[in-house]
């Protein structure tokens, strides 16, 4: 296993030029962004970058010696390869430091066309173990893999010890309880999924219906959750709704919680993890500022002396403010359901 000497990269989401600036000011080493179309997994209205925004953002980031990654991480739909190729061409031409991709056919295009372009395998690429990751390295020369949020620390440690690419893991943000890149729940309910449209539980399918003080959250008419008067309501992300199993109504798949791995940073550093990613290109610049500066402080503390690291209460309090349902979990990392 390689002993890590360089500091861990803090990778921040940028859904807009304002968020990108916020991330850089708050101390992100790297920002990731997407184009304004279905080629990335946060294809939301009002979000993402025009070409002019990207030029300004890349210029700003590079002036501060930070990196910009382009997420082109949905799956190319048959007959529409030109759109995804154009996105890769744009990323290359606009000065991307790396491109985050999931689709093997598109990775083939990028590695053939731009042999010098740095490629990262997106979490949507669903490479969950060494053989899958090494295949992507052998075939497309990926330099980094973003690991799915379904893996435990033990599994991440084994991957870090055995792969020949850098490893990036999620440190904070909304939690996918399903293996990313292979979840069709959203398209089953609405027709649109992360793979085919770059969306999950899309806003256009959401309806809030109030009746007798009770609030129903529906997705294409399907009741995802129902809130009694005074009960805090959450966005109806399909897997986080309450459903009936054997007549028992519950969060059958997952509670609305967010991932918070801040307490695990020294362990992740020791394993040789290269980068910590913050989820949330759909979130506001204020979220970016506060979450990035919190993780910046934590990472600086780990880099200064990992053995004396302990997460400060104010860090966790700040992150909890930005968590879904104000709940945080270490997710699969600690495998609480084992």
């Amino acid at each position: 296993m390689q002993t890590r000497t360089s500091p861990i990269d803090l990778v921040a989401p940028a859904g807009s030029l304002a968020a990108l600036k916020a991330a850089i000011e708050a101390g992100a080493d790297t920002v990731y962004l997407g184009l304004k179309n279905a080629t990335n997994a946060r294809n939301f209205a009002g979000l993402n970058f025009t070409e002019a925004d990207i030029r300004a953002g890349v210029e700003l980031a590079h002036r501060h010696n930070r990196h910009v990654l382009f997420a082109i991480n949905t799956f190319v739909q048959a007959g529409r390869m030109a759109e995804w190729q154009a996105a890769v061409d744009a990323a290359h031409d606009l000065g991307a430091d790396a491109v985050i991709m999931a689709d093997p056919g598109l990775l083939a295009y990028a590695s053939d066309r731009y042999p010098d372009l740095r490629l990262h395998l997106s979490v949507q690429g669903s490479a969950t173990h060494t053989d899958a990751i090494e295949l992507m390295k052998e075939q497309f020369g990926i330099r980094r893999v973003v690991l799915p949020r379904v893996l435990t620390l033990t599994e991440i440690a084994r991957i870090c010890a055995n792969v020949s690419v850098e490893v990036e893991v999620f440190g904070f943000g909304s939690l996918c309880v399903m293996a990313e890149g292979r979840c069709l729940l959203s398209s089953y309910a609405t027709g649109d999924s992360p793979n085919n449209k770059g969306v999950c539980s899309p806003a256009h399918a959401v309806r809030w219906v109030e009746e007798d003080g009770r609030m129903d959250a529906r997705l294409s008419g399907i009741l995802i959750d129902r809130y009694e008067p005074g009960e805090p309501a959450a966005y109806p992300t399909l897997c986080k709704g309450r459903f009936e199993v054997d007549g028992q109504a519950d969060h059958a798949l997952e509670e609305p919680t967010s991932l918070n791995a801040i307490g695990l940073l020294p362990k992740l550093a020791e394993m040789g993890v290269s980068a910590i990613k913050i989820e949330g290109r759909q979130r506001s610049p204020a979220y970016v500022t506060q979450v990035v500066s919190t993780l910046r402080a934590a990472l600086d503390s780990v880099h200064a002396d990992a053995s004396r690291f302990s997460p400060r209460p104010e860090w966790n309090a700040m992150l909890a403010r930005h968590a879904e349902g104000s709940q945080v979990t270490q997710g699969a990392f600690e495998r609480p359901w084992k």
């Binding site: 739909q77 669903s126 969950t128 027709g191 793979n195 059958a252 798949l253 359901w337």
Partner: protein
């Protein structure tokens, strides 16, 4: 009126549920007698399930081959632990049977020899099909969420000689997790789950709070509660150039679905096929809608 014959092969997908050993053996004995051409077998969902062990599946594979079936061994869809990765490697190293890759690790092991790229490998366009064919894939199973016109386009983009397979019947596996949802429902730990999934031969129904049929829980899988039904679309699919139509095993109706497809390809009007009692039907993906939707085929 003279009925024309429509050439396509019928496959039986891997059994996604945990059935008692005898029930599993009885099911495959019936499949052996059925007109299915290709049978995919193996435990693809949970490495804790043990009613049939790896060697038992191999023995079953030999039995099915002996009666003339083409047998393909299916690999797991989600690999997490080192033990799972090792088991997958071993499966891919055996040379007696072709393997269906459920994920990219299997593609690495199988490179250079013929294999089937399963429905969760995400072959959405010709570029990926070409890559898979170059690795050795002889057939791919189309993504479940693909609509008809996109499938037709995908078939136009496929490399020469590569076969296409489409799932046409059964509950669809929609998502995979590190967590076992069956164990979660029973408030059990995943590693001490009591194998409660053996009690649910079609998975556990997960309904909305208005009691509408929605999803199904099968261990680490989330499935469609409704049974995919593209049996009536079989001639159209075959006409597009789909080589193999897949039936995914359920507790009832599976053999009837195989028989219906066989009737269709012989040019005989098939009997109606019902999913297991209490389970609805869906085919929305094919028609460009939400997967849960149902549209009857044009007469």
């Amino acid at each position: 009126m003279e009925m024309t014959q429509i050439p396509f092969q019928i496959s039986v997908g891997p059994l996604l549920y945990y059935w008692p050993r005898q029930r599993t053996m009885d099911f495959y004995a019936a499949v052996a007698e059925s007109p299915a051409d290709i049978v995919y077998i193996g435990e693809t969902v949970c490495s804790r399930r043990h009613e049939l062990r790896a060697d038992d599946w191999l023995e079953l594979a030999r039995d099915l081959r002996a009666v003339g079936k083409t047998v393909v061994l299916s690999g797991r869809t989600l690999i997490e632990t080192g033990a799972e990765a090792s088991a997958l490697k071993k499966l891919c190293e055996q040379q007696d049977f072709m393997v269906e890759a459920g994920e990219l690790g299997a593609v690495r092991h199988l490179s250079g020899r013929g294999f089937v790229a399963g429905p969760h490998v995400n072959a959405y366009h010709g570029g990926t099909l070409t890559w898979l064919a170059n690795r050795g894939a002889v057939r791919f199973v189309a993504p479940l969420e693909m609509d008809g016109p996109t499938l037709e386009q995908l078939l136009r983009e496929r490399p020469a000689g590569m076969q296409a397979e489409v799932m046409v019947w059964g509950r669809m596996a929609l998502a995979f997790s590190a967590r076992c949802f069956t164990a979660r429902h029973f408030r059990l730990k995943k590693d001490d789950c009591g194998f409660r999934c053996i009690e649910h031969p079609d998975g556990l129904d997960m309904r909305t709070r208005e009691s509408r049929e929605f999803l199904g829980i099968n261990g680490i899988q989330v499935q469609s509660a409704a049974c995919l039904d593209l049996l009536a679309e079989a001639p159209e699919l075959a006409g597009m150039g789909v080589d193999v139509l897949r039936v995914s095993p359920q507790s009832a109706g599976t053999l009837e679905a195989i028989a219906a497809l066989d009737a269709t390809r012989r040019g005989v009007k098939p009997d109606a096929v019902s999913p297991p009692a209490g389970i609805g039907r869906c085919n929305g993906y094919y028609y460009g809608h939400a997967g849960i939707g149902l549209q009857e085929a044009a007469a």
